[in-house]
Every structure is written in structure tokens, then in C-alpha cells.
């Protein structure tokens, strides 16, 4: 029989987290700090709106671009929160989560051989999506000493004649790193100088713990025309299972993306879109409450590691911290495997998010304090035993 499979996809490695969680799955007693999704339920008024939309029989497709009413609300939200100005009718596309947006944007923009710069450690889908779109992923290895922020010299060193897109994964999964205004300024200059496009994945934007809040690279003068802005409801509104995200970009890009989206997906889930109108219009306070609780847990973990004398830079975004385990003289994977087997606590090796994650582990604080405490007590035991 002939090989039924495509060569490109078979050569792509499965996600490193997947492999690790297959082991976790066999240990039902283990405490996990591994999941990258909110532990909060979607605010009730959002769920209630979804139920209402079903009662009303709103079970048809929406337009390919998404519900107009929702896009208008999103455009207001982006103005209100991030000083972004997008036309809801021509510069926006509702997608099945932020992840569809990433995939479709890369497919709409890349020609074979185009290079995509991917700061790492970062979310696991940028590299495979680039390859599937015919592009060439080029990793930029971020450094712990810079708190895993992207530095202009790192960016400039990675740029070639073939570079077309820079992915900006901030606030970052897995490091929790953010890029503040002063960090973005020199990056913006280079993007313009080398005529690049930026695909900015700001899905964690609402979960930023700096005093000044999240700053979008798309808000800098001259950047809107070269930015593809990705956001969604999963992290900010605890709506992961609803599968709803959106892309804002110049009309020429949105037009081509809409073609792919239309042929592959049709439209984002209708019930989710109706519910999201309430989420984006009425839930600022719910989001603020969740952010505050995440922030308390973030401080708790940081202080625990500080007391243990474990090196850990202060992350200001998402719901992850990324402590260093380099002092124990083993790889991240070995550390995580032993922690799991010996203390039944699951955290994710930094290398699941790129080679530069070696020496660190990702700890998610999308868990109750009770869980965090139990897990941290065990991690402390483990570390004390390692240190002898």
C-alpha cells in the first residue's frame, strides 16, 4: 500500500508537553501544575447569554468574518483597553481560538522559503504552523538574564534577506515575560527598518501585572499596517472551551485570511459568539477580579521560591512562572520526570517550548491556593533532598 501520509506533517515532532502529560495521565494521584488554562469558570452571565441564544434558536452559521455586533464590541474594547483602532467590518476576523488566527495568518502571508522569527521559549504552535505554511522557522533564543524579553540586538542578529514575519509572543507562555513600552520601542524601529511584519499573539494581554498594564505593539505609530494582532476569549474571560478568538490586521491581509477561514472553517462557533458579546461588553470587572487573584497566587509562588533560594525572575504576565533548576545539574526533562515520580507533582520542562527553555520549568498558577501550597510543599521537599 502507498504511504497515506504527507511528508511535512510526519516530520513534525509532536508537542513536548503532550509526551510529558501521557506520563502524568498514568498517575491519577499526582498534583498537576501543568495545565495552561484558567481554573475559573466562565462568568455566569456569559454562560447565561449562551443558553439564551440557544433558547432563541440562534443556531445558524454567522457570516464568515463573524457576528457583526461582536466585532463592533471588540473594536470598542480594543480602543478602550489598548488604544487600538480597528474597523470591525474590514480589519477583523473571528476565529476558532487565537490558534486558528496564528495558523491562518501564516498561511495567508508566507511564500515558500520565507523566514519567520520565533522568540523562544514560546507557545508550541508557531514553529509547526510556520512549517505547514511553507515558511522557515528561525528561533531567537531569549535569555533568562534579560527576563526572557526580546532584545533589539537579538532580533537584528536573526534578520536575513528572507525574514518576513516576527512573532511576538508576549505576555509569554511559558515564561510569563512581558514587553513593556520601553522594551518595544527599539523592536518597532528594527521592524520598520527591515520592512518586517509582526504577528503579535496577545492572548494573555489582559493578564498583565505591571502597574501600567499591557501595551500592544500594534499601538505604536506606523505599526498598525505591519501588524497582525491576535487575541481571544480563552485566557482573559476563562472561555477556553468556547473556542473563540479574533485577528485584527490590515484589510488586504484579512481578506486573504478570510478566504482560508471560509474554506476550512466557515465561521467561528455561533453560540460562543453570542455569549462573547456579553463577555466583551459587561465583564471588565470579572476579568479584573480574576487578574487580581492570579496576581496574588503569582506573588505567593515567587515568595515560596525566594524562601527556598531558588532563582526565579519576576514574571509580569500570563499565569506562569519559570524558575531556574540549573543549579541541580540535570536537564529540565530529567528534573520534571523525577519530581513527578518521586513527589507526584507535575510541572512542564522548559524545553517543551524551545531549546532555550533548558534549565527552567514552567509552573502554572491557574490552580487554587490549596493546590499550589500542596504542590510547593512537595517541590520544597524534593529540592531539599537534591541539595542534601
Amino acid at each position: 500500500m502507498r504511504n497515506p501520509l504527507n511528508k511535512t506533517i510526519t516530520e513534525i515532532k509532536p508537542s513536548g508537553i503532550r509526551k510529558f502529560f501521557d506520563i502524568v495521565a498514568e498517575m491519577p494521584e499526582a498534583i498537576s501544575l501543568g495545565v495552561g488554562e484558567p481554573d475559573f469558570d466562565t462568568p455566569w452571565k456569559v454562560r447565561d447569554e449562551a443558553i439564551y441564544s440557544l433558547e432563541r434558536g440562534r443556531t445558524f452559521y454567522t457570516s464568515n468574518s463573524g457576528l457583526k455586533e461582536l466585532r463592533i464590541e471588540i473594536s470598542e474594547f480594543l480602543k478602550r483597553h489598548y488604544d487600538l483602532d480597528y474597523d470591525p467590518l474590514t480589519e477583523m476576523l473571528m476565529t476558532v481560538g487565537g490558534s486558528e488566527g496564528i495558523d491562518v495568518a501564516l498561511r495567508a502571508m508566507l511564500d515558500p522559503g520565507d523566514e519567520v522569527l520565533i522568540p523562544q521559549p514560546s507557545y508550541v504552535s508557531y514553529e509547526p504552523c510556520t512549517i505547514l505554511a511553507g515558511g522557515v522557522p528561525v528561533a531567537i533564543n531569549l535569555k533568562e538574564e534579560n527576563e526572557f524579553r526580546l532584545k533589539p540586538e537579538e532580533l537584528e542578529a536573526a534578520i536575513t534577506d528572507k525574514t518576513k514575519i516576527l512573532i511576538m509572543p508576549f505576555p509569554n507562555n511559558p515564561t510569563g515575560a512581558v514587553m513593556e513600552k520601553a522594551d518595544l520601542e527599539p523592536i518597532v524601529e528594527l521592524v520598520k527598518k527591515y520592512d518586517l511584519f509582526v504577528l503579535t499573539d496577545e492572548i494573555y494581554g489582559e493578564l498583565t501585572y505591571t502597574g501600567s498594564g499591557h501595551v500592544s505593539i500594534a499601538s505604536f505609530p506606523g505599526m498598525k499596517e505591519r501588524t497582525i494582532y491576535i487575541n481571544g476569549f480563552s485566557k482573559s474571560h476563562a472561555m477556553t472551551g468556547w473556542r473563540l478568538g479574533y485577528v485584527c490586521a490590515p484589510q488586504v491581509i484579512i481578506q486573504q485570511m478570510t478566504k482560508i477561514h471560509q474554506f476550512a472553517i466557515m465561521c467561528a462557533p455561533t453560540t460562543s459568539q453570542y455569549a462573547a458579546v456579553t463577555a466583551i461588553r459587561d465583564c471588565d470587572e470579572d476579568v479584573a477580579n480574576m487578574r487580581e487573584e492570579y496576581n496574588d497566587r503569582r506573588r505567593y509562588l515567587l515568595n515560596r521560591f525566594k524562601k527556598m533560594n531558588v532563582k526565579c525572575f519576576e514574571p509580569y504576565g500570563a499565569f506562569y512562572i519559570f524558575p531556574s533548576i540549573a543549579e541541580f545539574g540535570m536537564s529540565s526533562e530529567e528534573f520534571c520526570t523525577r519530581l513527578l515520580k518521586e513527589k507526584e507533582v507535575a510541572v512542564v520542562p522548559g524545553t517543551a517550548f524551545g531549546d532555550s527553555g533548558e534549565g527552567n520549568v514552567r509552573i502554572s498558577y491557574a490552580y487554587s491556593l490549596e493546590n499550589l501550597k500542596k504542590a510547593m510543599d512537595r517541590i520544597e521537599e524534593f529540592i531539599n533532598e537534591l541539595r542534601g
Binding site: V35, E37, R297, R299
Partner: protein
């Protein structure tokens, strides 16, 4: 800071104070001092426990009683309220707006006990004009906590 401390202990008065200090980025001693001060100021009035008696197989009957009264001259409603809330059977007394004056929550071991309280103690009070007793059939949520089910983490393993 006080508001943060209160919002945590309102939901969990047994929270470990060292943990709370770490979450709020302060010292445990500071939290202890604040708690003591707030106890003294009667901002914190007690640390009761929320119990689902239905599951404890202990018989309990509770009722919400709407009470209409005539306020006493010179003392308003407060004096009447005092006559009512001093009974140990009474859990809570609220002065409310609307078609009656007080909402009184009471608890007893049997229906008889509650009925006796209303007929023998509450109704005969001079200022009480009328009462209407509503027995609680089922308690779904109390103090912001849903009594029916314990929350379980149903998140599945997913690569992200």
C-alpha cells in the same frame, strides 16, 4: 490592604496567615496586627463555619420570618430588634425596606420548636403586629458558597 485581607478571610477564615502574607507581598506579623485591630474595632465579628447540616445527619429546621412591628417611641426599631435578637434561637435579624419591617432567621431542631418560638415568644412581644413564617425547604447557596456540589477540576490534559 485591609480590604484584601477581609476579602480572603470572608471566604476562608482558616487561611494560613503565612500564605496570605506571601500572596499579598507583606509580612505575617503585619497581617496578625491588622486582624487583631479589626477584631477590636468589631469589623471582624466572628469566624463561624459554613455547615451543610443536611449531610451531617443532624436534624435542623430553619425559617425566615417576616415581622411587622410598631417602632417604640424615641428608640425606633433598634429597641424592638434587640428584644428579638437576644433570643439564642435567632440567627439573624435584618431591618428591611418593603411591606414588613424585620426579616428574622431562626433555627431549631424540629418544626415544633420553631413554631413554639414564633407563637410563644415572638408574636406576643408588645410591638409585634404580625408575623409570617417561611420554612426553608432547601438551602442551595449560602455566604457565596454553593452547598449542593463540591467543585471538581475537570480540565483535561491538553498541549499548551
Amino acid at each position: 490592604m485591609r480590604e484584601k485581607i477581609l476579602s480572603y478571610i470572608e471566604h476562608n477564615s482558616r487561611i494560613d496567615l503565612e500564605d496570605l502574607a506571601m500572596m499579598l507581598g507583606t509580612e505575617q506579623a503585619m497581617i496578625v496586627n491588622e486582624l487583631e485591630a479589626m477584631e477590636n474595632e468589631h469589623i471582624i465579628c466572628g469566624y463561624p463555619t459554613l455547615i451543610n447540616w443536611d449531610k451531617a445527619s443532624v436534624e435542623k429546621v430553619s425559617a425566615l420570618i417576616e415581622v411587622r412591628v410598631t417602632p417604640q417611641r424615641g428608640m425606633g426599631f433598634d429597641k424592638v430588634a434587640e428584644r428579638i435578637y437576644n433570643y439564642p434561637e435567632v440567627n439573624a435579624v435584618y431591618l428591611i425596606s418593603g411591606s414588613y419591617d424585620f426579616m428574622v432567621s431562626i433555627e431549631g431542631h424540629t418544626l415544633r420548636e420553631v413554631a413554639d418560638f414564633v407563637s410563644a415568644k415572638l408574636s406576643p412581644l408588645d410591638s409585634v403586629l404580625s408575623t409570617q413564617t417561611n420554612f426553608v425547604l432547601k438551602k442551595y447557596k449560602d455566604h457565596g458558597i454553593i452547598m449542593a456540589e463540591k467543585h471538581v477540576d475537570e480540565r483535561e490534559k491538553v498541549s499548551l
